[in-house]
């Protein structure tokens, strides 16, 4: 057995999460075109089309912009999120029908639900692994895919790191419904907030189960159609958030993804650009040099999703 494999056998949950983040860290400049499908308990579908822009600065400031393209009535609605280097989240909204001004949103994701979807803002911007405690669980084999399993706990309860004394991977998959605490030193009444399933092969978090206060599955986030995008980095082209009790779910299908600084210039993350309705009127915006934004391709920094 190679040393690296032996290391993984003994890796803690936190260490596995560090590996996952390191492998699939946010690419600095990403432009995506998405189709979002909301499915209610009766199977009715509402489809929205939107664009997602993200930009990670060298000083670790991150910017995200989501712009709705359809339905027509919500075209131009934008959500701008900025995360400071210190991790402070600042959100603002733009509702074209309300007037040409940005509206500050002072709370998280509009009360847990992001624009009527089953996602929260945190689901979309990623998890700050330093804000939580992690505990590794027994590995699982699901549909012939081997997973590391890591439970996420509130950072207020436990001191990090908490290592589960696992010596070898379990050969058979285990049910993943109600979490069972092992002898990890955790308080008996503490329950995980969620559970990540990391594909062993590439450390990609392919599934996350969210639990309610009783430890019962409340939501399940699954990422499908995984593609390698750059080196060891993988991305999913299909995201699904399911609410099993209320039987509604939200699909996000990435129809186009471009990794390019040219697609996410700084100016589009500004109030001026948004309230001028540039996001609506001029998607194929011109660069400063007069060329169109979209055709600019940096072959070193761009990965096109050819399969979508």
């Amino acid at each position: 057995m190679a040393q690296a494999e032996l290391d993984l056998i003994e890796a803690t949950g936190y260490e596995l999460m560090q590996l996952a983040v390191a492998r699939h860290r946010q690419y600095p400049y990403v432009y995506e075109e998405q189709s979002m499908v909301l499915v209610d308990r009766k199977g009715n579908r509402d489809t929205r089309k939107l664009r997602r822009y993200s930009r990670l600065e060298e000083n670790q400031e991150a910017r995200f912009l989501l712009v709705f393209d359809s339905p027509e009535t919500v075209r131009g609605v934008a959500v701008l999120a900025e995360i400071s280097a210190q991790g402070k989240l600042n959100q603002s909204l733009y509702l074209p029908a309300l007037g040409q001004e940005m509206i500050q949103n002072s709370a998280d994701g509009l009360g847990g639900s992001f624009l009527g979807t089953d996602f929260s803002v945190e689901d979309l911007v990623g998890e700050d692994i330093d804000a939580y405690q992690y505990r590794r669980r027994r590995d699982e084999l699901i549909n012939d895919v081997a997973f590391f399993v890591v439970d996420v706990y509130s950072g207020e309860i436990l001191d990090r790191p908490v290592a589960a004394p696992l010596t070898k991977p379990a050969p058979t998959p285990q049910p993943t419904a109600t979490p069972q605490l092992a002898t990890t030193g955790l308080p008996r009444d503490s329950l995980p907030l969620r559970r990540h399933f990391l594909i062993k092969e590439n450390f990609f978090i392919a599934r996350t189960d969210y639990f309610d206060e009783r430890g019962v599955l409340a939501k399940r986030f699954t990422q499908y159609d995984l593609v390698p995008v750059l080196g060891d980095m993988w991305r999913a082209n299909m995201l699904l958030m399911e609410n099993p009790s209320q039987l509604h779910k939200t699909f996000i299908k990435i129809t186009r993804r471009v990794f390019s600084v040219d697609y996410v210039p700084v100016r589009i993350f500004t109030e001026a650009w948004l309230v001028a309705n540039r996001s609506i009127d001029n998607r194929a915006e011109e660069n400063a040099d007069g060329s169109h934004l979209e055709p600019v391709v940096d072959t070193h920094n761009i990965v096109r999703d050819s399969n979508l």
């Binding site: 209610d40 009535t73 509702l95 500050q104 949103n105 847990g112 009783r214 019962v216 509604h248």
Partner: protein
């Protein structure tokens, strides 16, 4: 035929009893299959088109049946209480079959502000976890109360009361025992938290269903035995016979087992109405037992001085019982069963089930009574009675006779029984009632009728204000905790009853268009002005709320200005938050209305007004439906009224036809109806006067009362027509019939009154009201039957069809008799019945020369001679054989008989009395006229013969 059948029953009583035992055993096996139905589904007409609409709306917008956990505490918004609250909500989510729990723990709220020219919107949970400090809790309270969508719906105005809305698995709600098991689980949990909050209780389908089931069982276990006790007391009091009290209990017990066994086998569920069947069987079924035993005792009384053994006397008494009660028994059984069966016309499943169960119960009880009572009387009847002596002779200290069963002992026992029967007929109360009524009948018949008619007019007037209600919550008494707590929720939050107003458009996104939203707003505005409903909530309220958040408080009263802004605001709601108010494609909008109106009449009036207003507001642009399960149940009130009126009308017609046919007279049919109509008219008047609503319980009183009240009339008419065969003094016949029937009629009516009054102890208001009204109706039926009916009876002469058919005469004799020329067989038979049948022994004089008589005779059988006595001796004029007539001169003119007519052999003759025929001319004009015509012919022939001689 009937009597013959019954006699065979006694002869083969071993087989009969074995058959009864087998059926009873089979019924017992069916008892284990009995189920209790507490769903509201049975309160909705089966054919209601609203069912389809309701299902479609519920599929779209979710169930209107939610369970509410009400919690009130002055210190609710403190960390300690909220921690308890949170723990409760967490545990509620874990209760089996609970699929969703909405409470202040998962409520989102928005708030908006403007700082330095910048709009800020804050969104978050009312409670993001359990507050750690009092201040945090107070802030959360302020956030909650600021949201108009929650205030008055989920929170009281002061915030100290809140509702936890529990959604159960829809698919399982109609499963047997589902609601009860959920209720128990929820209640166990709430009990654990009872000490933590000032008030904590649940209201919703599981509790209502559980309370219905518990009350049904309570009614079953209380009302039946109580009725039995009342019945025994009434019979012992009025009939002074323990046997007379025991026999109805035996027949009732068997009937109850048969009925509930049948319900079990057929899968007809127990409901609040079928739960009163034991009581009904005991009280109604006992009336036939009472009449039969009264006739039995009368038979003993009649035969007491005849030389015979005790056994023979008993058999003769039973034969008398059959003779006098056989026909009325079958008729009353039919009419009572028809009364109950009429409820089958109701479109409400609850009443239909009751109709099936009660009709079967009455028929089963009738059959059991007919076959078992004679057997019981044969076995345990007082005449031969060692047991009787033991039971009745204890005061005489004469127990030596215990082992004897025949001869002197039997006679002695019989005499003692006569004492018992004298107790029946000499009952003080009965006699006083009869005496009082006799005075009115003899001295003031017209005034009595006028008074009754005036009373009926008065009651008909008040019956006009009668209203209908069918709301399940009105089934419970007002002081019941469930009702009180429902009222508390209504006062603090909003009523637990919900209905939906859906507006369907042709095109998608119709309810993003401001004009259409304004129509929704107008409808809600109208409902606020109506003032009957607690709250209305729609997409409009959500949009106004968000508009207020973004545009400032002043905009909270306004809708978004454009379709685009509406759509953009709606992004702030999760689909699940809107799913109760608008379809996903915005084609159908829904207004959720909460109220606490427990009266169908009021609710239906409000809804009718609302429908008119909506039609005015939206025109024909939208397809509008106003639905909910509760509304369907309440709307069924209208069909309840119509179906009961239909049932009542049809029943009266059927009874009229049966009675008219049975007594071969339309007047007979009318007379049978009148005493049944009077109690109903007075009952409806009382209901209108005392504002007692027509509901599934009280609606049945009319048809059931008709079926029962007519029983007494039938007994009275049957006895009267029997007595009429042997007298021309019809008034005397009426009086005698009343005297004979009065005691069993009064006893059975009082027993019914007390028996129905027992239902007033029911856990259900509708059953208690049914009991009270039915009891009052039974009392009124005594007055109608014993005071009014006799007055009217004097105007008619009845001949029973059964007796016409049963006449055993030689048709050849009738055919050749000139008196019956040109008459059909039926007319001849009827003519025989309006005459008098007399039998003479050889040597007896049928007519004595020199006397004055106004009768004419037809010889049916035997031979007689006509002998004229003259001064010089006697001369045989002629011999008379069957079919020949004599005495026709005296019939025509009041002159002395000119000869003796003496029986040579045993002779049967029909006697036609002139005065009686004159009376009967108005009752049976066609037959009397034909007879008179034939007599004229006979006289003509006689004259021709004389002239020829």
């Amino acid at each position: 035929m009937m009597a013959s059948l019954l006699r065979h029953g006694i002869r083969y009583r071993g087989i009969i009893l074995a058959l009864v035992a087998i059926i009873t055993l089979l019924a017992c096996m069916g008892l284990s299959k009995l189920v209790i139905d507490t769903s509201f589904d049975s309160l909705i007409p089966v054919d209601s088109p609203a069912r389809t609409v309701y299902k479609r709306v519920v599929d779209e917008f979710g169930s209107d049946n939610k369970t509410i956990i009400y919690i009130e505490d002055q210190a609710l918004w403190t960390p300690t209480k909220l921690a308890k609250f949170s723990a409760l909500v967490t545990e509620l989510k874990g209760v089996k079959h609970v699929i969703e729990v909405d409470s202040l723990m998962n409520l989102r709220t928005l708030s908006g502000a403007r700082h330095a020219g910048k709009r800020t919107v804050s969104a978050g949970w009312v409670l993001d976890g359990i507050p750690k400090t009092k201040l945090e809790a107070t802030d959360a309270k302020a956030r909650a109360l600021k949201n108009p969508l929650y205030r008055g719906n989920l929170f009281s105005e002061d915030g100290n009361a809140t509702a936890v809305v529990v959604t159960l698995d829809d698919g399982l709600q109609n499963e047997q025992g589902f609601n009860q098991s959920v209720h128990i689980r929820l209640q166990r949990l709430l009990d654990q938290y009872a000490a933590d909050f000032e008030q904590i209780f649940q209201v919703g389908p599981p509790r209502i269903s559980a309370e219905l089931a518990a009350s049904i069982i309570q009614d079953l276990s209380l009302l039946g035995p109580l009725s039995a006790v009342v019945l025994i007391l009434a019979i012992v009091l009025f009939m002074r016979s323990r046997l007379a009290a025991i026999i109805p209990i035996v027949t009732s017990a068997l009937s109850i087992i048969w009925t509930f066994g049948m319900l079990g086998w057929l899968g007809v569920p127990l409901s609040l109405l079928t739960a009163m069947i034991p009581s009904l069987i005991i009280v109604i079924g006992s009336t036939e037992d009472t009449h039969m035993m009264a006739a039995f005792f009368r038979g003993i009384d009649d035969d007491l001085d005849k030389p015979q053994s005790g056994v023979t006397a008993k058999y003769r008494a039973i034969a008398t019982m059959f003779k006098h009660t056989g026909l009325p028994l079958v008729l009353t059984l039919m009419t009572t069963a028809l009364g109950f069966a009429s409820n089958l016309f109701s479109s409400i499943g609850l009443i239909q089930d009751f109709a099936i169960a009660s009709t079967f119960a009455i028929l089963a009880n009738g059959i059991i009574t007919i076959i078992v009572v004679p057997i019981l009387l044969v076995q345990f009847g007082p005449v031969i009675g060692a047991d009787y002596n033991k039971n009745n002779n204890h005061n005489d200290n004469d127990n030596d006779n215990d082992s004897d069963s025949d001869g002197d002992v039997g006679k002695k026992a019989a005499k003692q029984n006569v004492a018992g029967s004298e107790a029946i007929f000499g009952n003080y109360l009965t006699m006083k009632i009869i005496q009082l009524f006799r005075v009115l009948q003899d001295r003031f018949p017209n005034y009595t009728l006028l008074f009754t008619a005036t009373l009926c007019v008065f009651c008909t007037y008040h019956a006009g204000s009668l209203y209908v209600t069918n709301d399940p919550m009105s089934y419970f008494p007002e002081d019941r905790p469930l009702i009180q707590q429902s009222r508390l929720i209504h006062e603090k939050l909003a009523g637990i009853k919900v209905f939906y107003i859906t507006l369907g458009a042709e095109t998608e996104n119709a309810f993003l268009i401001p004009d259409n939203l304004r129509k929704l707003e107008a409808i809600q505005g109208f409902m606020r002005k109506q003032g009957g409903f607690d709250s209305t909530l729609s997409l409009v309220d959500h949009l106004k709320y968000v508009n207020g958040v973004f545009e400032g408080e002043f905009a909270r009263l306004r809708l978004p200005k454009s379709q685009a802004l509406t759509a953009q605001y709606l992004l702030f709601f999760h689909r699940s938050e809107l799913q109760n108010y608008v379809s996903h494609d915005y084609k159908i909008a829904n207004i959720v209305v909460r109220h606490n109106i427990n009266d169908s009449n009021n609710l239906n009036q409000y809804v009718v007004e609302l429908e008119q207003a909506i039609a005015h507001i939206v025109g024909t642009e939208f397809n509008v439906d106003i639905v909910s399960e509760n509304l369907m149940v309440n709307r069924a009130a209208n069909s309840l009224m119509m179906s009961q009126l239909k049932a009542l009308g049809l029943l009266l017609v059927i009874i009229f036809i049966i009675m008219s046919v049975m007594f071969t007279s339309l007047k007979g049919g009318a007379i049978a109806i009148i005493p049944a109509l009077i109690p109903i008219v007075l009952m409806f008047g009382m209901m209108g006067l005392f504002e007692i609503p027509l509901n599934p319980g009280t609606a049945m009183v009319a048809v059931i009362a008709v079926g029962i009240a007519v029983d007494g009339t039938i007994h009275l008419l049957a006895r009267y027509q029997e007595l009429s065969y042997s007298t021309s003094d019809y008034r005397a016949a009426v009086n005698q019939a009343v005297e004979e029937v009065a005691t069993p009629l009064i006893v059975s009516s009082l027993a019914l009154t007390f028996g129905f009054a027992v239902l007033m102890f029911s856990s259900f208001t509708v059953v208690a009201q049914f009991g009270a009204l039915a009891a009052a109706t039974m009392l009124i039926s005594i007055f109608a039957n014993l005071l009014i009916t006799p007055i009217i009876m004097r105007w008619v002469r009845l001949v029973c069809l059964v007796h016409i058919i049963a006449i055993d005469v030689d048709q050849e004799v009738l055919g050749k008799s000139p008196l019956f020329q040109n008459m059909s067989n039926y007319q001849r038979r009827k003519a025989i019945l309006i005459s008098e049948l007399h039998e003479f022994q050889p040597g007896e004089k049928l007519i004595e020369q020199g006397t004055v008589g106004r009768s004419m005779y037809v010889i049916l059988e035997g031979e007689a001679e006509v002998v004229r006595h003259e001064s010089h001796g006697s001369r045989k004029l002629t011999a008379l054989n069957s079919g020949e007539i004599f005495g026709e001169i005296g019939y025509i003119r009041s002159i002395k008989r000119t000869a003796d007519v003496t029986a040579l052999t045993a002779v049967s003759v029909l006697r036609f009395d002139y005065q009686r025929m004159q009376k009967d001319l108005k009752f049976f004009p066609h037959i009397a006229a034909q007879l008179n015509f034939n007599i004229s012919g006979i006289l003509g022939d006689r004259l021709a013969d004389v002239l020829a001689d």
